[in-house]
């Protein structure tokens, strides 16, 4: 089985988000970048499905050279090789178009992404890649298992899940439950240095949205502390002041 795992390079979850250039750019100063946490889940599942000679895992990232430490980490965790499509990921359409065009003639059986990136939160790439390639897509899955080329996928739906049968190839966005994220071991880190990381040029997608400004949410006004023996007061405030009950 040939698996393609899409990996996004995102700020560490503890990052305090600020902006520069008149609130038009994310301030990366001092920010640590990591593999998007859901992509770690996708990668772990891809390795489970292929290890022991059962197949290969290729990493794809759309990004500039600064994303290479993240790609190397994915190789250290256990991917076989990687491709970086050399461009600033200007929006999900552009990213998905480039991933799809790269994958088009490579016969991947399975394309895994994370359910969403924790920076731009689009939850768009999985389904867009599916549409560009005209193959099925599942935006948020909790499980994927194979019996030959037929997969069983648990897809999250409002208030429950659907159990779906589908044959390869397809695209799926991984969420918790699909696999447990792995950490690289020493051997992985050593071998990652020599694994193939190909850099290819990006294609124009002919369409794009434009972020014109960022904004940090306003601070909440100071908390009202209610004495622990006067909970009735909280109920009263929730009713008459906050008007939520």
């Amino acid at each position: 089985m040939k698996v393609l795992v899409c990996v996004s390079n995102v700020p560490d979850t503890t990052t305090k988000v600020t902006f520069t250039n008149d609130n038009m750019e994310f301030n990366t100063a001092g920010v640590q970048f990591i593999i998007n946490p859901y992509d770690e889940i996708a990668l772990a599942r891809a390795i489970e499905l292929t290890e022991g000679g059962k197949g290969t895992v290729t990493i794809v990232n759309v990004g500039k050279a600064d994303t290479e430490p993240t790609i190397r980490k994915a190789l250290a965790i256990g991917a076989d090789d990687a491709v970086r499509i050399d461009a600033t990921p200007s929006d999900a359409y552009f990213v998905s178009y480039n991933i799809a065009e790269y994958a088009r003639d490579k016969n991947f059986d399975l394309i895994l992404t994370g359910r969403e990136s924790i920076d731009y939160n689009g939850a768009q790439v999985a389904a867009m890649v599916g549409e560009f390639l005209d193959i099925p897509s599942f935006s948020i899955i909790k499980k994927v298992e194979f019996d030959g080329s037929i997969a069983t996928v648990d897809r999250e739906v409002e208030g429950g899940k659907e159990i779906i049968n589908v044959s390869t190839p397809f695209v799926a966005g991984c969420a918790e439950g699909v696999a447990a994220a792995r950490i690289p071991n020493m051997r992985g880190i050593m071998s990652a240095r020599t694994k193939r990381l190909e850099v290819i040029a990006a294609l124009e997608s002919g369409q794009s949205t434009r972020i014109i400004k960022y904004e940090v949410p306003p601070q909440r006004s100071t908390v009202k502390i209610i004495p622990a023996d006067e909970v009735g007061k909280l109920v009263e405030l929730l009713h008459s002041e906050a008007k939520v009950i």
């Binding site: 998905s96 867009m128 099925p136 659907e162 779906i164 909440r220 009735g232 929730l238 939520v244």
Partner: protein, 325 residues
Amino acid sequence: MSVLVYVEHAEGNFKKSALEIVSYSKAIADQLKTNLIALAIGNVSDENLTALGKYGAEKVLNVSDKKLDNFVNEAYSFVIADTAKQEAANVIVLSNTFSGKGLAPRLAVKLKADFVSGAIELPDIQNEKFVVKKTTFSGKAFAYVELLSSIKLITLTINSYQLIESAVSSKIVKISPEFRDSDFRATVKQVVRSNDKTPLPEAELVVSGGRGLKGPENWHLIEDLADALGAATACSKPVSDADWRPHEEHVGQTGISISPNLYIAIGISGAIQHLAGVSSSKTIVVINKDPEAPFFKAADYGIVGDAFEVVPKLIESIKEFKAQK
């Protein structure tokens, strides 16, 4: 020109989130001085379809076909795209639900539409510009995204727009678009409902528990308070990691993001990753025994105290309040 809104339903009934996006889409149609057309796929009674007129849908299209009994992204997005073309829609709106997330990106590609997911306000339409506000960095910031293409696509975050009645008389039109066989490559074998309660992303009131509750055997406190309020339940990440609660309940940066009217956090410290997923809640109540817990800085109301003493009293107090009403 028209605005097209795709409305989801559960067994023929429209949920509040569906009526929210009809209200939202009506406001866009008014700004653009055009008509609002709603599309529902599946079996919905004429009575329910007509009721969408109450929120401003002038025309309600309905496709009912056995082939569409189960939700299949590919086929549904094909039908929506086809309808958008027939109706010359230049703005298309869906809910940012699990199904909306499956459909909208495919639609964006089919229609070559610029697309914003997770909008939280009406678009700002001025001087030929069309700008939509959405949350980014998992709730730590907002982005204003400009859409440039002639067809624009938006998914709206649940609970971010109020219901506004603007009664128009609506006309129901049954349509039967063509399907492509290749859109039915995935087959739904089974649908598993987790329970009858409101799904967490749609809940208006949420009671959430953290590691401060010590173990799953104490979750009756969270559940009883939620029942008294008619709320959904949630938890912090370590709680679902330890299998005290199912993963679906985990909120935060790596769980689900919610924006209920009321979020009550009990025994949760308020780590930055937790706050990311809940900070857009309208009102936040924190119950924690540590007065220095960071969550108090992000709360509207706080009680410093032991959850095992405070919560039972709060449950009684809520019950009394409900009984009086």
